[in-house]
C-alpha cells in the first residue's frame, strides 16, 4: 500500500517536473532551430527559467473578470489538469511500474481526452468575451472532429492486440512494434493527438494573431498557468500514448525498460516541438477538410484492411 502511494507520488512528481522542464526545453529547442539562444539567463544554460516563471505566475494578480460566469471560470482550468493527469494512471511505464491496470485502459484514455474538451469550451464560454468565445467554438469543433479519427485510428491496434488493456497491448509488441503493421493508424493518431492537445501548428483555438489568445484570453495568474501546464502535460501524455500503442512501450535491447520508455517519449516530445518550429498554422477550413476528407477515409480503410487480414489469417 505504502509502496503504491510512493509509486503514484513518484509518477506524479516526475510528470509535473517534466512539464515544468519542458517549458524551458521547448524554448531552448525552438531557439536552436530558429538560430537564436532562447532563455539562457537564469542559472546554468537558463535551466532555472521554469522556477522564475513559476515565481512570476504565482505572484501575479489573479483577476476574475466581473462579466464572467464565476464558477465555471474557476472550474475550467482545473478540468484540463485533472483530465490530462488521469490519463497517466493507466499508462504502463515498465513491466512493474504503472499506477493502475484497467481492462478498459484504452477507453479510459479516450474518455479523458474527450472530457478535456470541456475545459477549453467552458473557459471560452465562461469568459464572456468575443475572442474567448470564438476560441471555445473552434476548440469544440476541432476536438470533437479529431476525437473521431483518434478512436478510429486505434481500431487496428485493438484488433491486433485483442485487448483494451494497455499492458497487454505493450506485451503484444514484443516481436514487432505496431508502428510497422499499423503505420497509417500511427500517422492518423499522431495528427489527432496534435489536434487534441491543440499545439501549434494546430492551435487554432488560441491562435494569437487572430484571437489574441483564444479561449484563455481573460485568464491570468495561476489559472492561466494551469492551462499552460495542462498543454505541456498533454504533450507528454500524447507522446507516452504513442510510445505505448505503437512504439513497443518499454521494449528495447540493453537498457532497462524505464529508460527505453523515457527515451522514446523524449523523442516524440522533441518531435512535437520541431513540428511547432517547422510548420505554419493551416486555415480553419483546411484543418476540417484534412480531418474529414483525408483522415476519416484513411482510418476507416486501415480498420477494414486490418480486420480483413486478421480474419484471413485466423
Amino acid at each position: 500500500m505504502l509502496l503504491k502511494i510512493a509509486e503514484i507520488l513518484f509518477i506524479f512528481g516526475v510528470l509535473i517536473l517534466g512539464a515544468a522542464a519542458l517549458t524551458w526545453v521547448e524554448r531552448r529547442l525552438l531557439g536552436l532551430w530558429q538560430d537564436r539562444y532562447g532563455p539562457n539567463r537564469a542559472g546554468p544554460l537558463g535551466i532555472l527559467q521554469p522556477v522564475a516563471d513559476m515565481v512570476k505566475i504565482l505572484t501575479k494578480e489573479d483577476w476574475i473578470p466581473p462579466f464572467a460566469d464565476r464558477v465555471l471560470y474557476v472550474i475550467a482550468p482545473a478540468i484540463i489538469i485533472i483530465a490530462t493527469f488521469m490519463v497517466f494512471a493507466v499508462i504502463p511505464l515498465s513491466p512493474s511500474l504503472g499506477v493502475i491496470e484497467l481492462n478498459i485502459g484504452l477507453l479510459f484514455f479516450l474518455a479523458m481526452a474527450s472530457l478535456s474538451v470541456y475545459s477549453v469550451v467552458l473557459a471560452g464560454w465562461a469568459s464572456n468575451s468575443k475572442y474567448a468565445l470564438l476560441g471555445g467554438v473552434r476548440a469544440a469543433s476541432q476536438m470533437i472532429s479529431y476525437e473521431v479519427f483518434m478512436a478510429l485510428s486505434l481500431a487496428g491496434v485493438i484488433m491486433m492486440a485483442g485487448s483494451f488493456n494497455l499492458r497487454t497491448i505493450v506485451e503484444a509488441q514484443q516481436g514487432l512494434w505496431f508502428v510497422v503493421p499499423q503505420f497509417f493508424g500511427f500517422v492518423a493518431f499522431f495528427v489527432a493527438g496534435l489536434a487534441e492537445s491543440h499545439r501549434l501548428p494546430l492551435d487554432l483555438p488560441e491562435s494569437e494573431h487572430e484571437l489574441t489568445a483564444g479561449f484563455h484570453t481573460e485568464y491570468s495568474g495561476m489559472k492561466f498557468g494551469m492551462f499552460f501546464l495542462g498543454e505541456y502535460v498533454g504533450v507528454i501524455v500524447t507522446s507516452a500514448m504513442i510510445v505505448t500503442l505503437f512504439m513497443g512501450g518499454w521494449h528495447g535491447p540493453w537498457l532497462p525498460p524505464l529508460v527505453w520508455f523515457g527515451l522514446k517519449m523524449a523523442f516524440f516530445v522533441a518531435l512535437f516541438v520541431l513540428l511547432r518550429a517547422a510548420i505554419p498554422r493551416p486555415r480553419y477550413d483546411q484543418l476540417m477538410a484534412f480531418g474529414w476528407k483525408l483522415l476519416l477515409p484513411l482510418t476507416l480503410a486501415n480498420a477494414v484492411i486490418t480486420g480483413g487480414v486478421l480474419l484471413a489469417g485466423s
Binding site: 460566469d69 465555471l72 479516450l110 474518455a111 469550451v121 467552458l122 469544440a140 476525437e147 483494451f164
Partner: protein, 167 residues
C-alpha cells in the same frame, strides 16, 4: 459496494432534478453531464465496464459537448432565463407530476414483485458484448444503423440546400 451504488444513485437523481429545474441552460447541461457520470459509475458497479466507458466517451464526451456548443452559439441572456422561469410555473408541473407518480407507483410494484437481487452481476467484457450485439440483437443494431444513416443523409441534404441559397 452497496454504499457506493446507492450514493452514486442519489447523485444521479439529484443532478437530474437540477437539470429539470435549472433556469440557466449551460449549468443545467453540466448537471446532465454529472448525471451521466453517475450512471457510468453505476454501469461499472453492475459489471459492465465497457458500457460505462462508452457512456462517458459518447454521451458525456461527444453528445453533451455538441449540446454545450449549440447553447453557446445561441448566447442565451437574461431574457431567456426569465422565459424559462415562466415556463416552470407550478401549473406546468401538474401533468408531468401525475404521469410520473403513476410510473413511480408501477415501478415500486415491480420492485416488490422481483425482490432485491445482488447489485453486482456477471462482468460483461467487450468481447461478449460484441458477440451479443452481432448475433442476438443483430436486427436492432441494423435498424439503429439505418436510422443513423437516414439522419446523416438528412443532415447532409439540409446543409447542402442552404449553401445553394447563398449563391
Amino acid at each position: 459496494m452497496t454504499v457506493v451504488f446507492y450514493s452514486t444513485a442519489v447523485i444521479a437523481i439529484l443532478a437530474t432534478l437540477l437539470v429539470v429545474t435549472g433556469r440557466h441552460a449551460v449549468h443545467a447541461l453540466l448537471y446532465l453531464v454529472v448525471s451521466l457520470f453517475a450512471v457510468a459509475v453505476l454501469f461499472y458497479l453492475m459489471g459492465a465496464p465497457f458500457a460505462a466507458a462508452l457512456e462517458i466517451i459518447i454521451y458525456a464526451g461527444a453528445i453533451m459537448v455538441l449540446f454545450v456548443f449549440v447553447i453557446m452559439m445561441l448566447n442565451l441572456g437574461r431574457a431567456d432565463m426569465e422565459q424559462e422561469e415562466r415556463w416552470l410555473a407550478p401549473t406546468t408541473w401538474l401533468g408531468p407530476a401525475v404521469l410520473s407518480a403513476v410510473l413511480l407507483g408501477q415501478w415500486l410494484w415491480v420492485l416488490r414483485q422481483g425482490g432485491g437481487g445482488d447489485i453486482t452481476g456477471e462482468i460483461v467484457g467487450a468481447r461478449e458484448l460484441g458477440i451479443a450485439l452481432f448475433s442476438q440483437y443483430l436486427l436492432a443494431v441494423e435498424m439503429a444503423g439505418l436510422l443513423l444513416l437516414a439522419a446523416l443523409v438528412g443532415a447532409f441534404h439540409l446543409g447542402r440546400k442552404r449553401r445553394e441559397d447563398d449563391e
